[in-house]
C-alpha cells in the first residue's frame, strides 16, 4: 500500500465569527506518504469528535490559531490500525486518541493512543470513545466532581445541557442525588432533557427572560452552575446562585462567535454571596479521578444509567458543514463524524 489518497479537513484562516466552509476550513485530498518508519503506524479513522473548543484552537479575535494554513485539524478519533511498525499497536487493533480530522492518519508518535480491547464486541457504541468515554465525558465528570463539589440534595443548573458535556453533567448529577435544571436552544431539546434524560426541569433560553425562567425552575436558588455558555446566561446564574455557590466555567459558546465580547456586570455578587468561579483544562485532574471517570461512566453507559445522544454526520466530506452547524446550535446531541465502519 503506497501513496494512499487521503481526504483531510484543513485550516485556512481564523474565523472572526462562525467558521465558514471554504473560507476558514475546507476538505482537501492529498496523497499520503505511507512508507512507515520504525515505531510509526497508519490508521483508518472511524469516528471523529467535534467539540466547541475547536473554535479556540482555530483562533479568532485576540487569539491566534494553533494550526498553520493547510494543516489538518485534529480531534479525538477512534481508528483502526491498518499498517504498523510498532509492536504495541498491531494491525487490526482499534485505538482511540488525538489524531487528524481526516480519513487516514500517519501516526509518528503514538504515546497518547489507547487500545480498545473489546472493540469488536463492545457493549457501548464505538462512537462513545470519542465522546462520553473521552474528552466530553472526562471534562464533565472530573470538573463536576473536582470544582462543582456536588452534594446530594443540592440543585445544579447546566446550560447547553444537551451538548456533549452538558448531557453527562446533568445525568451524573441525577445519579449523585442532585436536583437538575437544564437549558437548551429549542423546545425539542428541552423536551428530550426532561422526558428522556430525566432532568427535573428544563427551559428554552431563547424564550423569555433567563433569570425568570431559572427562578421559576429553582425557586430556592441553585448551588452549582455548570457554564457551557457564558454571557447573559452566566449573569443570570450569578443572580440565582445561593451563598457559597460554585460556577464551573467549562465553555462560553455564546461568545465564541461574537466579535465584541459581552461584559459581565454583576460579578460583585461573587463577593456578596461568597461564590467561586473556576475554569480548567481537561488534563489538570488527578490520574485517580480520571480512572474513576472511565470506570464509572463506562459502567453507567453499559447499564443504561446514562443515555448519550449523539448527532452523527456521515462522511468526512461533510465535516466542515457539521462544524458550522455545531456553532449555530443545530446539532442535536454530541457532534460526531462517522468516517467509516469498523
Amino acid at each position: 500500500m503506497v501513496n494512499l489518497n487521503n481526504k483531510s479537513v484543513v485550516f485556512l484562516e481564523s474565523p472572526k465569527e462562525y467558521p465558514i466552509p471554504g473560507v476558514h476550513l475546507k476538505v482537501e485530498s492529498k496523497m499520503l506518504d505511507d512508507e512507515l518508519n520504525e515505531g510509526e503506524l497508519l490508521t483508518r479513522n472511524l469516528y471523529i469528535s467535534l467539540d466547541p473548543y475547536l473554535k479556540t484552537k482555530m483562533g479568532g479575535v485576540g487569539h491566534p490559531s494553533i494550526y498553520k494554513v493547510g494543516q489538518a485539524l485534529d480531534s479525538y478519533v477512534v481508528s483502526e490500525v491498518i499498517a504498523s511498525k510498532n509492536d504495541k499497536f498491531p494491525v487490526g487493533a482499534v485505538v482511540f486518541g488525538n489524531l487528524g480530522i481526516e480519513e487516514y492518519t500517519r501516526v509518528r508518535t503514538s504515546n497518547d493512543l489507547k487500545i480498545i480491547e473489546d472493540a469488536r464486541e463492545s457493549k457501548v457504541p464505538l462512537s462513545s470513545y470519542v465522546g462520553a468515554l473521552n474528552l466530553a465525558g472526562r471534562t464533565a465528570y472530573c470538573s463536576l466532581i473536582d470544582i462543582g463539589k456536588p452534594k446530594a440534595g443540592e440543585t445544579i443548573y447546566v446550560s447547553a445541557a444537551f451538548g456533549g458535556v452538558g448531557q453527562i453533567v446533568g445525568q451524573i448529577s441525577k445519579i449523585l442525588g442532585l436536583r437538575v435544571i437544564g437549558s437548551a436552544g429549542s423546545d425539542e431539546k428541552v423536551d428530550y432533557l426532561v422526558k428522556t434524560l430525566k432532568f427535573d426541569a428544563a427551559f428554552n433560553y431563547k424564550k423569555g427572560n433567563i433569570v425568570e425562567s431559572l427562578r421559576s425552575a429553582a425557586p430556592e436558588g441553585i448551588n452549582i452552575y455548570y457554564d457551557n455558555v457564558g454571557g447573559e446566561t452566566l449573569e443570570a446564574a450569578l443572580e440565582v446562585l445561593n451563598r457559597f455557590g460554585r460556577v464551573v466555567l467549562c465553555g462560553m459558546s455564546s461568545i465564541y462567535n461574537r466579535t465584541t465580547p459581552y461584559g459581565i456586570k454583576n460579578i460583585i455578587l461573587a463577593i456578596l454571596k461568597s461564590l467561586k468561579l473556576e475554569g480548567f483544562v481537561a488534563n489538570q485532574f488527578s490520574d485517580e479521578l480520571e480512572e474513576r471517570f472511565f470506570k464509572d461512566v463506562k459502567s453507567w453507559l453499559e447499564n443504561g444509567d446514562i443515555i448519550y445522544k449523539e448527532d452523527i454526520t456521515e462522511g468526512l466530506e461533510n465535516t466542515p458543514e457539521a462544524i458550522l452547524g455545531m456553532f449555530q446550535g443545530k446539532t442535536f446531541g454530541k457532534a460526531v463524524v462517522k468516517v467509516a465502519d469498523l
Copy 2:
C-alpha cells in the same frame, strides 16, 4: 451616672453613589438610658474602624440597607467598660468587638466581645485592635492563605494596596517569599508602598494604562490577584494572570459608588488559563486559621515585620466626613476614628 449624653452616627438613606454627610448619614446627640439590666455593660468607645463594606451595609443600587432610619451604624470598636452588670466584663476592662459608631454603647449581648488583657501595657497601638488585629487583618490573612494559596517565588498583585486590607496582604506575601506588586491612587501612596512597606513594585493606577503598568511591573505575569477594586482593574489582572492563577475577590471599591456597574468583558480568560475567582465572607474560615492569624499578625506587628499605617480622624463628630473621604480615596492608610483616650 444616669442619662448620659451620647453622640452617634446614624443612618438616614441609602447612597446611590457617595455617602454624603447630612443626606445619607449624620451625627445625632441623644440621651442614653444607662440603667443596666442583668448581663449588660456600658462602654466608652475609644477607636472605631471605618471599612469600605460599610457601603454595602448602608445599601445602594439593588441592595437594601441593613439599618433603619435613625439607627446608629456599627463597626469594630475598642472600648472601655465603664459600668457593668456582667462578671465577665468588669469595669476598667478594655474590650474589642462589634459596637455602635458612637461615643458610648449600651451592650445588651456581649457574646462577640473580647478582652484585651494587656491593653494598658500593649506593645502595639490599641487602634490595631480595630484594624490589623481585627476584620482588616483577619480578612487579609485568612483569604490570602485559604483562597490565594500563596507559594514562595510566586508573584502577587494587590490593588488598593494601601488600604486597610491591602497593606497587610502585601506585607504577609513578602514574609511568605512572594514578589509583591501594588497599585494605589496617588504617587505619595505608591512611594510609601515601595519605600516603607518594601513592595517590589508599585504603580499609580490613575496614570497610564493598567495592563501596561502591570505588565511592566510583572514581565513574567502574576499568579495571584488580590482584588479590592473590581472593574477595569480586575479586567487588567485577568489579562496578566498566568495559568492556574487565583483571584481573591475581596472588594470592589471602584463600583461601590457607581450607579451603572462595569461589565467584565474577558472572563473567558478564566477558561483559557484555568483561573479561579473566589469571593468570601470574613467569618467563613476555620477557627484554626483565625487563631493562626491573630498569633502571627500580633507577633509580626510587635517585631516590626509588619507596619500598619492608619489614618486616624480625631473626634466622633468628624466621622461622616471621614467615611466620605474613604470612598473618595482620600484616606492615607487604614481609616480609624479616635473617639477618646484610654
